[in-house]
Symmetry: C2
Subunit: 152 residues, 2 copies
């Protein structure tokens, strides 16, 4: 699903850009990273965005956990989705699965180095979320109020 940004449309009449270093970085991106046939952005964002995987990674930061423990640590997740999400994370190399041949059997999941490494950028994002959450909520109230005013 080629979800890449086009390098630069409007060849001759480029708008004066924001000028920030950030915009600059993103512009190089548009020419480089997004040209890949299967861009890593969508790839990782699909994981981060899905309903459970991020919560599970966070839960596993406290140490290895058994299936049942994870099920309790992430409330409201069904066994079905837990299993499914665990498989995805295992497949991506984010967590490892270790089976103990006891009876009844027990299975322990733990973060791999790769799984650990994503927590760093992830925590940045969540920190942002914490800090800016109030702003977002007030923005929404504003918007909704304005929308209601327009309706009247």
């Amino acid at each position: 699903m080629s979800t890449r940004l086009r390098p630069s449309n409007h060849p001759g009449r480029n708008r004066p850009d924001a000028g920030s270093a950030l915009a600059q970085r993103f512009r190089t991106w548009q020419a480089a990273a997004f040209d890949m046939t299967l861009c890593p952005v969508r790839d990782v964002l699909d994981r981060v965005g899905d309903k459970w995987t991020t919560l599970m990674l966070i839960a596993l930061t406290t140490g290895p956990m058994r299936f049942g423990a994870l099920n309790r640590a992430v409330p409201d997740i069904s066994k079905r989705m837990l299993t499914q999400s665990l498989r995805v994370l295992e497949r991506d190399g984010m967590i490892s699965r270790q089976v103990f041949p006891t009876k009844p059997p027990s299975v322990e999941y733990r973060l791999t180095p790769l799984g650990q490494s994503i927590l760093e950028p992830l925590i940045q994002l969540v920190t942002w979320a914490e800090v800016r959450h109030a702003d977002i909520r007030t923005a929404r109230e504003r918007f909704d109020a304005a929308a209601k005013a327009d309706a009247a």
Copy 2:
């Protein structure tokens, strides 16, 4: 949908934790941030995870864009989803909408300071994605190969 992590189950027999500073931060989280009735994590992750909003924010880093330009900059997005995503982002205060009363009308979208501010953590995540993408892909091949082996 109370998507918060439980503070700490298994009171008496806590596993020896990974010991990293990161795990420590996350543990304080579990007690604090996730106790909120509507946790900001899920809130922001829902946005980041959805199919288009992140791409749109990235596209807007190069400067203000018209509806049509955005539609071209983010290939494969339909007008329907573009409109819908723009509304969500506007509602959250991430972008602002400016209508020019020309005919035919033109509308320009631009990042707000709030919208700018999320790019910093976002770029961290995507940088991670770029760096680790190869690892993930090889992990997947491994896993799939092993799965096929088990099937046989």
